[in-house]
Symmetry: C2
Subunit: 365 residues, 2 copies
């Protein structure tokens, strides 16, 4: 079987990432210490498809397993759910010798990570991401998050997992939308820091679309290694390095929010990348061929590349104005300077030379 692994070194923790096929059936092999008990936090969809496989594998290794199944979707990511999970752990007398497993997509990873980081000042926790988005991005890097009053991830911690186990086999059952959503983040890693990854995305497009394990493992590994490199340099967003991962996300978040989340994250980020790259072209920082390459790769994966006709620029502008990256009227945003390279720039929102104005001007042409 095709399995690869590498080490992530952050200031707070060093841990392993395993990527391969059918890893769910022998999870304990990938852990340094066999836990006495594990608490699996998952959602309804994943539970239906894979919880039995995971539980069986743990049981065969002599590990007691207790599961908690949450409702699907972003609306689960509340402090109420956190409170319920605390009580679940308390009732089962969870201690530092136990391990928590986040078994699901980004929502499960975010909320489980938060609970693991705050119960008894931190329990061991393992990420087993089951969506492409979580596998190539959110399961690695230690960001945890809970929503508060509509504010996404307003509550959260930086807390690294003990290990990340990426079983690409589970992607076979992922919906087309969820699969494509994940690919947008892979393309982002190519665009901002890995032109070889862009080549793979072009050359192995058919294998990737057909979810062939060899190609999938290749793009997951490259994405995660890119992310690991950045997180290793700037775990807690202290040095203005980790921010480059926000490429496409300033406009992306505004589009997502403006559409009331009808346009899902990956689609919104795809459009955001196009618009933010176009801004680079407008500022004479990027050549038009590079811009067209990005658009063409996104299109080849059926990702959207322009905002819906009915979306209002004024609304997007209002949302961007409240972006949490803004300090004293200045937005720090990653700007593409060539394929595979971004630089952080400070944009004064009142200067008239900003991303939304540029979008609006181009839309009128």
């Amino acid at each position: 079987m095709n399995t690869t692994h590498f080490e992530i070194k952050t200031k707070s923790k060093i841990y392993q990432v395993y990527i391969g096929e059918s890893l769910l059936t022998n999870i304990v092999d990938f852990l340094d210490d066999k836990p006495k008990r594990v608490f699996v936090i998952t959602d309804e969809t994943v539970a239906k498809l894979y919880l039995e496989t995971l539980t069986q594998s743990l049981k065969e290794s002599g590990v007691e397993t207790i599961s908690e199944i949450l409702a699907d979707g972003e609306s689960t990511k509340t402090l109420d759910t956190v409170f319920n999970l605390y009580n679940f752990l308390l009732e089962n007398e969870a201690s530092r010798s136990d391990m928590i497993i986040a078994f699901g997509g980004g929502v499960i990873g975010d909320i489980t990570g938060f609970v693991a980081s705050t119960f008894k000042r931190g329990l061991n926790f393992l990420q087993i991401p089951t969506t492409l988005l979580a596998q190539v991005d959110s399961a690695v890097g230690g960001k945890t998050g809970v929503n508060l009053n509509g504010g996404k991830n307003l509550i959260g911690t930086f807390y690294q997992p003990s290990a990340v186990i990426v079983d690409v086999t589970v992607l076979k059952t992922l919906s087309e939308t969820d699969f494509i959503t994940g690919l947008a983040e892979v393309i982002k890693y190519g665009v901002i820091m890995d032109s070889e990854l862009l080549q793979i995305l072009i050359e192995e497009r058919n294998e990737i679309v057909n979810r062939e394990s060899e190609s999938i493992i290749k793009i997951v590994e490259r994405s995660l290694k890119n992310k690991a490199h950045i997180v290793g340099l700037d775990e807690r967003e202290e040095y203005g390095i980790r921010e480059i991962l926000n490429f496409g996300h300033t406009i992306g978040h505004a589009i997502e929010s403006s559409s009331s989340y009808d346009i899902v994250h990956g689609q919104a980020v795809a459009i955001g990348m196009v618009e933010e790259a176009r801004f680079s072209v407008d500022m004479d920082l990027l050549d038009i061929q590079s811009f067209e390459t990005i658009v063409s790769i996104l299109e080849s994966y059926h990702l959207p590349t322009s905002i819906p006709d009915d979306m209002k620029f004024q609304q997007l502008r209002e949302i961007v104005k409240h972006d949490k990256k803004i300090r004293e009227g200045v937005l720090r945003i990653p700007i593409l300077v060539e394929l595979g390279k971004v630089e952080m720039k400070s944009i004064e929102l009142s200067s008239g030379q900003d991303v939304i104005t540029s979008m609006e001007r181009n839309a009128r042409c």
Copy 2:
């Protein structure tokens, strides 16, 4: 004015501790970067006595100040209060360029630290401890905590402050009980790792009891330097080093809990230290003179040295059995081997050779 300071180096953060008189009146002088805004979290008692002084000092330095006053006491340390503080920060659009100040005793420090560590994945926060216990112990080291269903500090994080500012002037208004409670922890630092501190406690007993700043600054500084040394070696209790700070606390917690918190923390720890030191004598690990020195220092500060007559050993035993430091029936406990030196030992609770049995035997003599 008499001001001293030193640096604390932990794996996650390096920060300064300032100790002196009347520091409240020029807080901003001690900060590397002047924050734009500060959010002061305090309690009713401290607010009445010192909030105006602090706010005035910040205002004079051009720092906008917004305060939130919590009810006094341990019962404030709930997730409900956390939720209210999140909303307070959200309503005021707190961002990473703002700073949170924990202005109070251990309760305020614990809950404010938790909120600061989890709002937007961590805001800057400053500890200004106002009780002796917080000044010599809890304000330094980065433990945050919230109670859950009666479980003390069951929820929490490790999160270091940006700085700790200890103004000993505020101790003048501290109640006798709160002052004595803090001294128990100072004595603990002497007993476990600093025999010179014990000498100061003996020689400057009158100055300390009279709360004379020079002697207070001396014992606060020594206590915090001892703690900083241990926390620097083992910030997250990963290497079995930080656990030595639990000396006196296994029995102490049991007594505190068994008395339904009528016996306050410092008093319970004083008795706990005596009983745990007696256990060392029983095991021929400590000479009787050292034991008697400990008892005599505690008595000279009017701290209790024996458990109330009506307290049941069986109840203490039950509480110790559920101590969170127990793993698979084995309690890891710091054992005194000479004045100024402890070693971690593993005690099998079922062996009959444990601390409670030893207490019970001695009580019968």
